[in-house]
């Protein structure tokens, strides 16, 4: 093992790991597309204390924040096929549950966990907007929907952006656990390439580099967007 690193393998596998990026990004984007609106709506139920939904979101957030994501994956991966096969049997639908692409499970797990994180992000962001803003908007004749769209959300978004960025980076990192669902993303692809020659050190260095590049780019992108959102905000030091 002490012959040092296998550099040709290191370079070749870097591109293998890179080929997993589209799947990682696809899962990330789908999870965000589900979680952003859903998280926002559930955050509104928390703020407005909507009876049943308020409690539901509290327990939901507490569960997701209280359990490791790998265990959430285990539970979804063990339960969804069970429920689906019962459902398919009952209605005589001829689909084999084990033929379902694992990416669907990934969508479920990561949307599920990201929604909970974003509920908290939006809740804290919305609570930073002064209540007078909504009242002022209503007093000049805007409807509730207009007030949220034009006055509240733009202000809350500026506050929420850094946290949404953190949530996105964490989501990208969490997709590395997709191996547990045999999702063909960065980690699994490089690991499979390493299996042949036991070049695990090289493979993990590649995976490590790909994640650093990916997350740095995402963070940079969010920073640019945050600047754009802030353009109306004056009187800042």
């Amino acid at each position: 093992m002490s012959e040092g690193l296998n550099y040709t393998f290191l370079i070749d596998t870097f591109f293998v790991a890179l080929s997993g990026v589209p799947i990682t990004l696809f899962v990330t984007i789908v999870a965000l597309l589900v979680a952003l609106p859903l998280g926002f709506l559930l955050a509104l139920t928390r703020i407005n204390q909507v009876p049943v939904l308020n409690w539901f979101s509290r327990i939901y957030v507490s569960f997701v924040r209280g359990t490791p994501i790998i265990i959430q994956i285990f539970i979804v991966y063990a339960s969804v096929p069970l429920i689906l096969s019962l459902f398919f049997n009952r209605y005589n639908i001829n689909i084999n549950v084990y033929d379902i692409n694992p990416i669907w499970y990934a969508f479920i797990v990561f949307s599920f966990s990201t929604t909970a994180i974003l509920i908290e992000v939006f809740r804290s962001a919305l609570s930073t907007v002064n209540k007078g803003q909504l009242e002022a908007a209503q007093s000049v004749g805007l409807s509730n929907f207009q007030a949220y769209r034009r006055i509240i959300i733009p202000q809350a978004l500026v506050v929420a952006m850094p946290n949404i960025c953190t949530a996105t980076v964490n989501l990208i990192k969490a997709t590395s656990l997709g191996y547990a669902m045999s999702l063909q993303e960065i980690t699994l692809k490089a690991k499979v390439a390493a299996n042949a020659g036991y070049n695990y050190v090289e493979a993990y260095i590649d995976i490590f580099l790909v994640y650093i590049i990916l997350c740095s780019l995402v963070e940079y992108g969010f920073k640019l967007y945050e600047k754009r959102l802030r353009r109306y905000k004056y009187a800042s030091a």
């Binding site: 093992m1 507490s62 490791p68 790998i70 265990i71 969490a174 590395s176 994640y211």
Partner: protein, 238 residues
């Protein structure tokens, strides 16, 4: 419905809990060591970030950024395979080392990055005037830190420390991937012994254990914060 029972039997949840819980000891031991070492290195990193040296600042910030961008599982395997390979170059043979050591190294590295930010932000939240005032009434710089700065920074840092702890505990659940028999490792052994049936019940039992633990830690830090902030007077915003 009878069909369902064949696959899902709730008694497996209750029966597995007494088997699983003793293995929390391993989880706690690994987490505890990582917290001790991680806090220590985190303090060093925070001092580097707050110090005057530009190189030290850059190094510490670079470290934190890199660690923030690395998934725990990747870091875990990088340490698991990388440390013994690196040690080979120095003539050390570390391939037989207990897996717990690699787990502790990984989570120490990660917790240090979290703690450095917790400590830095807590320290920066205390006004400079506090230190100057303390020194002006005759306290030595060390006394000023110990009696004035530290108690105030502690209150600010506590909730973040609690969140870091919960994060560490959760990321620690990945230690089973390199063969550590902690609570998750034991759960997987139980499932294997059941010929991969009733996995769902065991995983639900695991989720319950982690959920309860996280809530307890959160409650504990909430209480602790109240105790330490007893001397603090702020505008009541509630």
């Amino acid at each position: 419905m009878r069909n369902m029972e064949k696959y899902f039997d709730i008694s497996y949840i209750w029966n597995s809990l007494p088997v699983l819980l003793p293995f929390l000891k391993v989880t706690f031991m690994v987490a505890g060591l990582s917290i001790v070492f991680g806090t220590f290195f985190g303090l060093i990193l925070a001092v580097m970030k707050l110090g005057k040296s530009k190189i030290a600042q850059k190094t510490a910030n670079f470290y934190t950024t890199i660690l923030r961008c690395t998934p725990s599982i990747v870091l875990l395997f990088l340490v698991y395979y990388g440390v013994p390979a690196l040690a080979d170059n120095f003539g050390l043979y570390l391939h037989d080392l207990n897996t717990a050591v690699f787990v502790v190294i990984t989570f120490t590295l990660q917790f240090a990055a979290i703690m450095s930010e917790v400590i830095r932000s807590a320290y920066e939240s205390i006004e400079k005037g506090q230190f100057e005032a303390a020194v002006s009434v005759g306290l030595s710089p060390f006394q000023a830190y110990r009696r004035i700065i530290f108690p105030q920074a502690l209150v600010v840092g506590l909730p973040n420390f609690g969140n870091g702890l919960i994060a560490l505990l959760q990321e620690g659940s990945l230690a089973y991937t390199i063969g550590l028999i902690d609570i998750v490792g034991k759960a997987n052994l139980i499932i294997a012994a059941n010929y991969n049936t009733h996995a769902l019940e065991i995983f639900i039992a695991l989720a319950i254990v982690y959920w309860v633990l996280s809530i307890l830690i959160e409650k504990f830090f909430g209480k602790l914060e109240k105790v330490f902030s007893k001397g603090k007077q702020t505008i009541n915003t509630n």
